[in-house]
């Protein structure tokens, strides 16, 4: 009954979005603001209806209404309340629905918060948003309908995928979809700028904000996803260059590139068409990633449910690409750069352009690597795998380039060949970097790396990262000195800079983290109760197996007391869990986390008869915490930058053209 209502609401939304697109189109054609207002009203209504639909879905989830196929598939009687909430997005149809909900929400927000300066392009923005909504609601009523009813209802559901019954999985998908959905706004503005043939005055500020919002959410989502892999999958890593990870990474990279090209556009009025292309790509790749991972083109652990959604996606993506290319080819020449003298050369804008180039290149490499198995099979019929070693062969060089550019670029200024601090400072900074680098190498046990090349690149990387950090802090000092060392002034007037400083530091912290745990140390041992394992300076005292009940899961844990040089440092409880509806045993890893290293234990196997012996896989992962910390810093930085009301209000071209004292 409620399911039918939900389906009806989705269908209504589809009709409304078609109406919204039509009225927005005619609003632009006939230049009639009343038609635009009606399309805005339709988006608002769509959002409200979708909220009701989502509420229905949650209501049915809590009612455990197994006559709805989606609920029967993803829920069961034993599911704890918290995971019943998250069952909403635990499979394809539900995630689509969540995405639709967020897209409609951001569409409504974008239309209602538009600056009056953007009035002339708003019909085009609304047209684009409605166009995307048509597609999403078309999916909701056809191939990805979350409200399908299957009667008779089974007495119990099949149960949620045990891998998803994890704290991080409750937050990762909504965050990711929030990031994806926020990207629709820069995309719509880019489309609108092309249609209108001009970048209007409020354009840049709006785009900048939405890009920062999307970037914050995408960063947090990716790190949460990594954290989930780290605590749930039990292979002691957080990034495997899995197709699904790559497909969340690509929009992030384009978002990053877009952010940097927006700065050049703001300050100098250049790189306008690049910005438009990037805003398109960032959004496009959020769908493209879904296409390649969910359509079964590339199978992946994340393909929890594959449906025949592929062909629909293929058609949609082709149409979208075609429209964009046609529009770009016919309209892009209208977006001319401003005639600012003395641009490019050895200056900050060149560093930014090169950074954008590196991000795009990285994205190209990642997408080629992800897609190559299909290409190879089509070209030569040969099946190949493209996994971590391929990506790891190139990623360090991109990282190196980014770090070098970041250090030099931040000390450069726009339209100026001068390097702040001069070359003398560079030498001092490089020398100064040796001290923290030595400390880091000592604390992170870097010298345990045996292979000379790996050791060498690790050390060079650490020194360069600290050098870059010193350059960033020096630039921060210069900015602070410019406001007579008054931090509140910097905070209130240059929040964008402050945010970028924190975010850049966060990025470098992540690089340090990667460099530190580049080589994990691991050891596998089988022990009887009361025996000890000695490994990497720690003693692990196996105190026996325990069984306990945790919510709906039964967990078998091995207790390991950890000693270092005779001192007790903590306890590790790696285990395996059994969920009522799933036969297989899931990993419940034990992690003892310190600032410099994580002790990570996995219970690989145990004596199922007597329960007296067990096999443990122990890892010492260095500087993993740096990676989590970096996410916090980047998020704080981008949120600070988001709240800079002064930035982007007037980009250079709009500034000169409109500055009249009359």
């Amino acid at each position: 009954m409620y399911a039918h209502l939900g389906f009806y609401l989705m269908f209504l939304c589809l009709i409304l979005s078609i109406f919204g697109a039509g009225s927005a189109f005619f609003a632009a054609k006939l230049n009639d603001p009343r038609l635009y207002k009606s399309s805005r009203a339709s988006v608002t209504t769509i959002f409200l209806l979708t909220v009701i639909g989502a509420a229905l879905m949650w209501y049915m989830l809590y009612q455990r209404d197994y006559s709805v196929a989606y609920i029967a598939k993803n829920s069961s009687n034993d599911l704890p309340p918290f995971y019943t909430l998250t069952a909403f997005w635990s499979s394809l149809e539900g995630s689509h629905f969540l995405w639709t909900l967020l897209l409609s929400m951001f569409s409504a927000i974008a239309l209602w918060t538009a600056s009056p300066n953007n009035d002339h392009i708003m019909p085009y923005v609304s047209l684009t948003l409605n166009g995307i909504l048509i597609w999403m609601y078309y999916l909701s009523v056809s191939v990805s309908d979350p409200f399908i009813v299957s009667i008779p209802a089974p007495p119990n559901g099949a149960g949620m995928n045990a891998l998803l019954q994890n704290y991080y999985m409750a937050f990762h998908p909504p965050t990711l979809f929030t990031g994806y959905s926020a990207l629709v706004v820069p995309f719509a503005y880019g489309f609108a700028a092309l249609c209108f043939g001009e970048i209007t005055e409020g354009w840049l500020k709006t785009c900048r904000r939405w890009v920062l919002l999307a970037f914050t959410f995408l960063t947090v989502a990716i790190v949460l996803g990594g954290r989930w892999a780290y605590v749930e999958l039990g292979w002691s890593g957080y990034w495997a260059w899995d197709p699904v990870e790559n497909s969340s990474f690509l929009p992030w990279l384009f978002c990053l590139a877009l952010m940097h090209s927006l700065i050049v556009q703001e300050k100098l009025g250049h790189l306008k068409s690049l910005t438009i292309v990037l805003s398109f790509l960032a959004f496009y790749f959020s769908f493209f990633g879904t296409f390649i991972t969910r359509s079964g083109v590339i199978s992946s652990v994340h393909s929890f449910a594959e449906s025949n959604i592929g062909i629909n996606y293929f058609v949609f993506l082709s149409i979208l690409l075609f429209i964009f290319l046609m529009l770009f080819a016919t309209r892009a020449h209208l977006l001319l750069p401003t005639g600012v003298a003395k641009v490019w050369g050895m200056s900050r804008e060149s560093a930014l352009a090169l950074a954008v180039f590196l991000f795009i290149t990285f994205a190209a490499i990642v997408s080629i690597g992800t897609l190559f198995p299909i290409v190879s099979e089509a070209l030569s019929g040969q099946r190949v795998s493209v996994q971590a070693p391929y990506f790891n062969a190139f990623a360090p060089y991109i990282g190196l380039g980014v770090v070098l550019l970041m250090a030099i670029g931040n000390l450069m200024r726009f339209q100026s060949t001068k390097l702040v601090g001069g070359y003398r400072f560079q030498i001092l900074a490089l020398l100064g970097a040796l001290i923290p680098a030595a400390l880091f190498a000592y604390q992170g046990d870097v010298f345990q790396t045996t292979r000379p090349f790996a050791l060498g690149s690790q050390i060079v990387g650490i020194i360069l990262t600290f050098w870059c950090l010193i350059c960033l802090f020096y630039d921060f000092y210069i900015h602070l000195k410019d406001v007579r060392m008054k931090f509140p002034v910097l905070f209130s007037h240059q929040r964008g800079y402050l945010g970028s400083f924190i975010a850049h530091v966060g990025f470098l912290v992540a690089i340090l983290g990667f460099l530190g745990n580049f080589r994990g140390v691991n050891h596998t041992a089988t022990v009887k109760e009361g025996e000890k394992i000695s490994f990497a300076g720690y003693d692990f005292d196996f105190q026996g197996l325990e069984i306990r009940q945790d919510l709906n899961a039964k967990i078998i844990e091995g207790k390991l007391g950890i000693y270092r040089e005779g001192h007790y440092v903590g306890e590790l409880r790696p285990g395996r869990s059994q969920y009522p509806t799933k036969p297989e045993l899931m990993h419940e890893v034990g992690i003892l986390s310190f600032f410099w290293r994580d002790i990570y234990g996995v219970l690989s196997d145990f004596d199922r008869e007597g329960g007296k012996s067990a096999t443990f896989e122990l890892h010492i992962n260095h500087t993993v915490r740096f990676v989590w910390l970096s996410c916090l810093l980047v998020a704080i930085g981008s949120i600070l930058a988001f709240f800079d009301g002064k930035r982007g209000r007037r980009s250079l071209d709009a500034f000169i053209a409109s500055w009249r004292v009359q």
């Binding site: 495997a240 690597g369 795998s385 509140p488 025996e531 001192h567 600032f595």
Partner: protein
């Protein structure tokens, strides 16, 4: 205290809490340690060498039943079987290349985690290298050397001199004063 200062203080607080969370280390309680029953698991240098070699090979082979993982990282039965096979071949004195070749001949190049550099697969290796080398060159030729100011830029009005701006501002002020008087 104004709003901005409050925001500043809050954000610093958040940062502080974050940093504090990362700094927390469990206290090292000294406890008596019984030395009985220690499983002496000292690895001899020879064994360590063997393990390095095993890891080196296992890292390059994919786990056939999972995505994204090597046989080294995964613990599925299939991967364990492959690891055992690798260990056996290493103890026979085979080199890494020989072992990898053996696996390629029995499973196809699919078993390798990165495609071999031959045939069509050379494309996937050449592409990034080309991008990274030719890309900056293109930027240099088409963007850097052009240095802006060409005929394809938009007219954004002439830059005015300081005097012109001053007279404009005076005029504007006079207008405003007139407006005040009139109202």
């Amino acid at each position: 205290m104004n709003k901005k200062m409050r925001i500043l203080i809050y954000s610093l607080l958040i940062m502080g809490v974050g940093a504090g969370y990362l700094m927390i280390e469990p206290d090292f309680k000294a406890q008596a340690q019984d030395n009985e029953g220690i499983k002496t698991d000292l690895i001899s240098p020879q064994d360590a060498n063997f393990k390095d070699e095993l890891n080196d090979v296992a890292k390059e082979l994919r786990c056939p039943t999972c995505t994204g993982l090597s046989v080294l990282e995964s613990t599925t039965p299939f991967s364990n079987q492959i690891k055992d096979e690798v260990a056996a071949q290493i103890s026979q004195g085979k080199s890494k290349d020989e072992i990898l070749k053996y696996f390629v001949s029995s499973y196809g190049p699919w078993i390798l985690r990165a495609p071999p550099m031959e045939g069509v697969n050379i494309l996937v290796w050449l592409f990034p290298i080309l991008l990274l080398t030719v890309g900056p060159l293109l930027i240099y030729v088409f963007v850097w050397r052009k240095k802006g100011g060409s005929s394809t830029t938009k007219e954004v009005g002439e830059m005015r001199t300081a005097e012109e701006i001053l007279t404009e501002m005076h005029n504007a002020l006079n207008e405003l004063k007139k407006g005040v008087k009139n109202s």
